[in-house]
């Protein structure tokens, strides 16, 4: 077994174990952390496939940003585990159906290319690294799709803020412009008071 093959199996084992722990662990914070490990190991897999841009983007976006916010929310929730477990039985049929569907769909897509002979060979890495290759494609051939995706995300951000943001009346705000403009003579008046001497 060559070293890359060994690494593949090692990472694959960690990935599968972490993914299993995400759904089996009881503590939601632990589940989020196992998911972080799963993302990280998936990134390692992509690195071995020479997709360094995707691997680092996965760590940067999912591990570095999405999961941090996720963990934030999960940490502050007070989850009652007993009531969650009581409902588990009710959800099993729906969850099992969805799970089987996802499995079948993925099998349909993946098995087709796996069963072809010679498909296991890696394509040669793009010249100048795949960051450059991806950038060239995104900003030329797929520029409209890329821009539309960006606009959709922007709209989603604005919508989320518009839906949740409310100005509370009791909150007091600073206006830094006004603070900078303040001069001493607006705020205090200096009175001339001659010193008085006690009559000798």
């Amino acid at each position: 077994m060559s070293f890359p093959t060994f690494l593949f199996y090692a990472f694959a084992a960690i990935l599968v174990f972490a993914a299993l722990r995400v759904v089996t662990t009881r503590n939601p914070v632990h589940a989020a952390l196992w998911l972080v490990l799963a993302f990280f190991t998936a990134a390692a897999h992509w690195l071995m496939l020479r997709a360094e841009f995707l691997a680092i983007a996965l760590v940067l976006v999912y591990v570095g940003a999405v999961m941090v916010l996720f963990l934030f929310v999960v940490m502050m929730l007070d989850v009652n585990f007993d009531s969650l477990r009581a409902q588990f039985r009710n959800y099993v049929p729906v969850a099992a159906t969805v799970g089987v569907l996802v499995l079948v769909e993925m099998a349909l897509v993946l098995l087709g290319s796996y069963l072809k002979p010679g498909s296991a060979a890696l394509p040669a890495p793009a010249a100048g690294g795949n960051t450059r290759a991806l950038g060239l494609l995104l900003y030329t051939d797929y520029v409209y799709a890329f821009e539309i995706a960006a606009v959709v995300l922007l709209v989603a951000i604005i919508a989320a803020i518009a839906l949740t943001h409310r100005r509370r009346r009791e909150t007091r705000y600073q206006d830094p412009g006004k603070q900078v403009k303040v001069r001493a003579k607006d705020r205090l008046r200096v009175l001339g008071m001659p010193a008085e001497k006690r009559d000798g």
Binding site: E52, I56, G64, A65, V68, F72, Q174
Partner: protein, 351 residues
């Protein structure tokens, strides 16, 4: 130096051993740098406040960092009641790991880099963004209100300033048209006037201040605001576990200094190209090389300390306002400006 006989002796294990050796050559000086950074901090702030600073252990107090390290190593590690034991111990390691890993792509001189990868800048962003896990977990696993509040503050602050920091680096990669850190330094060749801090001056300022905020340093250290939440996320940590957080914070500081020097201040390049032709025995003592990078890093670190000794702490809402309402718009405007200028006849100014 010919290493072939040594390599032959170790056989297939050689690449691993050689890489490990290179990692040690980077990590050990960085850790020593952290030790003397703490000494420098106490001395410099002492001088700024007309005090003497540490002067008891060793000549001029030079052994003070080691005294501190031994003190921390021999202290008892107290685990709070109800703390999540595993996460409590994993958190400091998670803080330290990324801080060390980011050094892998930092170029110290021409060709002197552990991993000269094309996506180096992205790697740096990824590594600095996962350092926050150590802080979040430390706060959560400690089972303490102060620690939890500190970790929430700190994580919100780091996530906010990361955006401004990332955008500032977008400006750099537009100028250098590369994500490779060595290429970014090479793009600044030709003396002081070509360093990126001139065309990207607003981004340079934003990057540096965001760097101070990212490392939770003064005046952005509400995460450990002593008067409000004692010591923030690491209030329950003692001994070696605390030392690891300390190490991670200072290592991040040195890393930010190195990155500022590389992205905006020409990295290992000498400020005047003439210095390269001024040779003694075929060797240019003041030419491009590691000493210039170290000098620039030392300057940036001095500014870190200077800021700490000068400014009062920000209030929490002021920190958020600065990050979201000032820095992010400034970087966005400047990126568009740089992009527009590149299409005009002033393009050479922006490379």
């Amino acid at each position: 130096m010919n290493l072939a006989p040594v390599a032959g002796f170790f056989g297939p294990a050689w690449p691993v051993l050689w890489t490990l050796a290179k990692i040690l050559v980077i990590a050990v000086p960085v850790i020593l740098g952290v030790a003397y950074m703490t000494y420098a901090e106490r001395k410099v702030i002492g001088w700024m406040q007309v005090r003497i600073g540490p002067n008891r252990v060793g000549p001029l107090g030079l052994l003070q960092p080691f005294a501190d390290v031994f003190k921390l190593i021999f202290k008892e590690i107290v685990v709070p009641t109800g703390a999540n034991r595993y996460l409590f111990f994993i958190a400091p390691m998670l803080a330290l790991g990324p801080a060390l890993a980011a050094w892998a792509v930092v170029p110290f001189a021409e060709g002197l880099v552990l991993a000269d990868i094309n996506a180096g800048l992205l790697y740096i962003l990824a590594m600095t963004s996962i350092g926050v896990y150590g802080i979040i977990l430390a706060g959560w696993a400690s089972n303490s209100k102060y620690a939890f509040l500190g970790c929430l503050r700190s994580a919100a602050q780091i996530v906010s300033y990361e955006i401004a920091m990332g955008f500032a680096l977008v400006g750099v990669l537009m100028c250098a048209s590369s994500l490779n850190l060595s290429d970014i330094v090479r793009g600044q060749e030709g003396g002081l006037a070509n360093w990126y801090f001139i065309p990207l001056f607003p981004l340079f300022i934003v990057y540096f201040i965001s760097g101070v905020a990212e490392t939770n340093r003064h005046p952005f250290d509400v995460a450990e605001g002593e008067s409000e939440i004692v010591a923030g996320f690491h209030v329950e940590y003692s001994g070696v576990t605390f030392a690891l957080f300390f190490l991670a914070e200072y290592m991040n500081m040195i890393l930010i200094a190195a990155l500022t020097a590389i992205m905006f201040l020409g990295g290992w390049l000498a400020p005047w190209p003439l210095l390269n032709s001024d040779t003694v025995l075929g060797f240019a003592p003041f030419g491009d090389g590691l000493p210039w990078l170290l000098g620039k890093m030392a300057f940036v670190l001095l500014v870190f300390l200077w800021i700490r000794a000068t400014f009062p702490r920000y209030r929490y809402d002021q920190i958020m306002r600065l990050g979201w309402k000032v820095f992010i718009p400034v970087t966005l405007v400047w990126i568009v400006f740089v992009g527009a200028m590149m299409q005009t006849r002033f393009a050479p100014l922006f490379h």
